[in-house]
C-alpha cells in the first residue's frame, strides 16, 4: 500500500474510497456501537500493517517446496506495543492479530484537574524496552499532550526516538506539529489528518471520545 508523506516522519494512509467509507461509518454518531467497533478495528488493522512496514529488514533466502530458492526478507529486531490507556487499548488486538505473542506495555496518563497538564499515573512496560522497537498506540492525537508525556516515559526508559513508531487513527495538525517539534525522529503513522481542534480541545470533525464509544461508556 502506498502512502503520502505530510510532515517529515509523518505517514498518512492513502485516502482511498475504501478508507473514506470506513471513516464515514465510525464518524457517524447515529451508528450503533457494534458497527463502530467492527469498522474501527478494520482501520486499526490497516494502520498496524503500515506501522510494521517501518521496521528494518534483513535479506533472507528460503527454499520453496518446488526446490527453488527465493530471496526474501526477515524482520530485524524485536518489538513491543505500548498502549496509552484507555483508548489506546482498543488497538492492542489489531497488533496481536499481526504479531501473535507481542508484548504489550501500558501507560496511564491523566490530566491534572487543576493545571490540566498530563501526568503519568501508571506504567507497566517490558524490562528490556530500550532494546525493542516500540509501537505506541493511541487512536486520537489532539494537542499531543498525552502522547508526548508517554514518549517522555519511553525516552526515560532508554528508548531512542528512532525506535518509536506512534500508531494513530485521527491526528490534528496541532498535535502533529507539537510532537514533531519535540521529537522530530519519532515516526507517526496515522489514517487521517483532520481540520483542527475545537475550543474544548477535541479534534474536529473528529468522532467524539474514541475510548468512550469503543468501550461503551459513552454518555
Amino acid at each position: 500500500m502506498s502512502l503520502s508523506k505530510n510532515h517529515e516522519n509523518v505517514y498518512v494512509l492513502n485516502q482511498t474510497n475504501q478508507l473514506k467509507g470506513l471513516f464515514t461509518i465510525i464518524r457517524d454518531r447515529t451508528k450503533p456501537r457494534s458497527e463502530f467497533i467492527f469498522y474501527a478495528n478494520r482501520i486499526i488493522r490497516l494502520i498496524v500493517e503500515e506501522g510494521l512496514n517501518h521496521l528494518p529488514v534483513s535479506p533472507a533466502q528460503v527454499t520453496t517446496a518446488q526446490n527453488v530458492k527465493f530471496d526474501g526478507v526477515v524482520f530485524d529486531g524485536r518489538i513491543c506495543g505500548v498502549s496509552i490507556m484507555r483508548a489506546g487499548e482498543s488497538m492492542e488486538q489489531g497488533l496481536r492479530d499481526c504479531c501473535r505473542s507481542v508484548r504489550i506495555g501500558k501507560i496511564l496518563i491523566q490530566r491534572d484537574e487543576e493545571s490540566q497538564e498530563p501526568v503519568l499515573h501508571f506504567k507497566k512496560l517490558p524490562d528490556d524496552i530500550a532494546d525493542r522497537y516500540v509501537l505506541l498506540l493511541d487512536p486520537m492525537l489532539a494537542t499531543g499532550g498525552s502522547a508526548m508525556c508517554a514518549m517522555d516515559v519511553l525516552i526515560s526508559m532508554g528508548c531512542k526516538q528512532e525506535q518509536i513508531i506512534f500508531l494513530n487513527v485521527i491526528a490534528s495538525p496541532e498535535g502533529l506539529n507539537n510532537v514533531h517539534q519535540r521529537f522530530p525522529n519519532i515516526r507517526i503513522v496515522t489514517a487521517v489528518i483532520d481540520e483542527g481542534l475545537d475550543d474544548k480541545g477535541y479534534i474536529t470533525p473528529g468522532l467524539g471520545d474514541f475510548g468512550d464509544i469503543y468501550f461503551g461508556t459513552k454518555i
Binding site: 484507555r86 505473542s101 508484548r103 501500558k106 475510548g211 461503551g216
Partner: protein, 219 residues
C-alpha cells in the same frame, strides 16, 4: 459445578475435569512460554464466561421455527456489562465480547503498594446507568481480596446492587474469598480453582505468578 463452604454462599468452582486441570497445569508452570500462556489463559477464560453466563436472568420467549413448529425458549432479561480490574482483568474482556457482542466494558485501576499491601483506586470509567446491568467483574487472580473489595465498593457507589455483581476469576485464595464474603455476602464468584494460601508477598500459592506480567509479557 461444585459449591464451596467459604464466606460467600455463591462460590461456583468450574467442574475440575482432567481437561481443565491440564490447562491449569500449563498456566501455572513458570516455564510456559508467553504465547502459550496467552493461548491457554484465553481458553480457560472462555470456559469461565460460559459458566458465568448462566447467571444472566432469562425470560420466556415463544418462537416459531422454520418447520412451522413452536418452541418455548428463553432470552436474556437483563443487559450485561463487563468491568475489568486493570491490568490483569483486561485479559478477560475478549472472552466476554465473544459471548456477547459489543458488551460495554468498564475499567477500574487499583494499585497495590508492594510494601504496605494497601490498595488504592487510581482510575474508574464505567458504563452509564450501570446500576441497571448485570455486572461481570473480572480479575484473574484473587489473593487477599483487597483490590476486589475496592472495586466492588466503586460499583456500589454507582448504585449497582450487590446481587447484580458476578465476579469472574481464574485462581482465588480461600483467604480472599472469606474477606470478600464477609463484606459482600450477596456477591457471586465463578472461579476455576481455589488455592490454599498466600506467600510472603501475598501472591496466591501455588497460583501462577503475576498474571498481568505473564499475559502481557512484561516480565
Amino acid at each position: 459445578m461444585s459449591r464451596s463452604d467459604f464466606g460467600l454462599n455463591n462460590v461456583h468452582v468450574l467442574r475440575q475435569t482432567v481437561y481443565l486441570l491440564s490447562l491449569m497445569t500449563i498456566i501455572r508452570d513458570k516455564d510456559t512460554s508467553h504465547s502459550e500462556f496467552v493461548r491457554t489463559s484465553n481458553m480457560i477464560i472462555n470456559m469461565l464466561v460460559q459458566e458465568a453466563l448462566n447467571y444472566v436472568p432469562m425470560k420466556k420467549r415463544l418462537i416459531v421455527s422454520g418447520s412451522g413448529g413452536t418452541y418455548n425458549g428463553l432470552e436474556p432479561a437483563q443487559k450485561i456489562c463487563g468491568v475489568s480490574i486493570l491490568r490483569a482483568g483486561e485479559s478477560m474482556e475478549h472472552g466476554l465480547n465473544a459471548a456477547f457482542q459489543s458488551v460495554p466494558i468498564g475499567k477500574i485501576l487499583i494499585q497495590r503498594d508492594e510494601l504496605t499491601f494497601e490498595s488504592k483506586l487510581l482510575f474508574c470509567k464505567l458504563p452509564k446507568n450501570i446500576e441497571t446491568y448485570l455486572v461481570f467483574l473480572m480479575d484473574p487472580l484473587l489473593a487477599t481480596g483487597n483490590s476486589s473489595i475496592l472495586a466492588v465498593q466503586a460499583l456500589l457507589r454507582k448504585g449497582v446492587p450487590e446481587e447484580n455483581i458476578v465476579f469472574l476469576n481464574l485462581i482465588c485464595c480461600s483467604q480472599g474469598i472469606e474477606n470478600i464474603g464477609k463484606q459482600f455476602p450477596r456477591l457471586k464468584l465463578v472461579t476455576a480453582a481455589i488455592d490454599p494460601e498466600l506467600n510472603d508477598q501475598r501472591y496466591v500459592l501455588p497460583g501462577c505468578g503475576d498474571f498481568g506480567d505473564r499475559y502481557f509479557g512484561t516480565c
